[in-house]
Symmetry: C2
Subunit: 198 residues, 2 copies
């Protein structure tokens, strides 16, 4: 077919998460159809993002400035740091609007199986932030998985003796969730952590 520009586009689109060869072909055709409205703006947006986005040297967030807008915001509480695995988790917490402190993105979890040790993660600098700053509380907002919990224990250990309060997210029934569909572990945790009603 000698459609090399098209085939290359499809190949690269197919490497996006959630895309396969079939959906990549559909996406490529859609882009070509919407040349002015979508294809050119997307090309520009990718180029701009590649040029401008950097990792915040303080917290590990992605932003166009370093330090990032969250670390730079004087209205945010610098005494509370929320530790998350990935930038996507930080975004999820920001969308909830429930947290007004700062973050620390460690970039994954410890994993014996995948051979990921502490030196591969952005944990070392957290103790520095705690010791140097006026931090009073660390919230571990890590996944409720074995690796996430192991990582939480490790982070807590590295902060031992720093006189900072360490908390973790509550386990329980998701808001809007039906009991029938919940796993035993969540139900057990929700029962044990029951709160006074009303």
């Amino acid at each position: 077919m000698a459609q090399n520009d098209i085939e290359r586009l499809i190949q690269l689109l197919a490497r996006l998460p959630g895309m396969g060869p079939r959906s990549a072909r559909r996406a490529a055709l859609h882009l070509i159809k919407k040349r002015e409205a979508l294809m050119l703006p997307l090309g520009t947006a990718i180029q701009r993002a590649a040029d401008n986005i950097q990792t915040c040297s303080a917290c590990g967030n992605l932003d166009t400035s370093d330090p990032c807008a969250i670390c730079n915001d004087p209205k945010r509480d610098a005494t509370v740091i929320c530790v998350v695995e990935e930038v996507g988790d930080l975004w999820a917490l920001e969308r909830s609007g429930a947290f007004k402190g700062r973050y620390h993105v460690i970039g994954g979890t410890l994993s014996a199986l995948d051979g990921r040790g502490p030196e591969q993660l952005n944990i070392g600098s957290l103790r520095g932030r705690v010791v140097e700053g006026s931090v009073t509380e660390i919230i571990l907002a890590l996944g409720a998985t074995v690796d996430g919990q192991t990582t939480g224990h490790y982070v807590a250990e590295t902060l031992a003796g720093s006189n900072v309060k360490i908390s973790r997210l509550a386990h329980g029934v998701p808001v809007g969730g039906e009991l029938d569909y919940l796993d035993d572990g969540t139900l057990t945790a929700a029962l044990q952590a029951r709160r006074p009603a009303g």
Copy 2:
């Protein structure tokens, strides 16, 4: 958050078919993580495709040359034209490797409901190709939908009196398909069009 470059990227990715806000965020994070290996090449590929891809003025295919590589290929049979709805259908037939003639992409189907008439489709030039050229057969490879079949009838009508053989794809059991999962219409068509076995 003032992450305007990131948010713009996510918004545009979310407009690809099969993507939503959630998968667009995942895709954006994936791109930023794989900056050298995926993000920069994809930006370039989109730009190149936007610059170079055009619609073949003969058949309606998309390619970097006009006429397209298929119309230009002297080894392909110029006496048979396969009429398809969209470029994606042409690609599917090319992947099968079963067709060695030329194509005519009409760009959709007639649709009374959506108000799409013949003037919105690339049908007019087909008669010209048949009359001017040495075309002996037109294969209607249109969708087995009401609109697809209506469009097929209309295309056949516009070719009336041009002394060209008009055929359509066979209906039947998909290869690898189980009878149990097939709809009644397909089973009826497959029964009526039964062929001598062995």
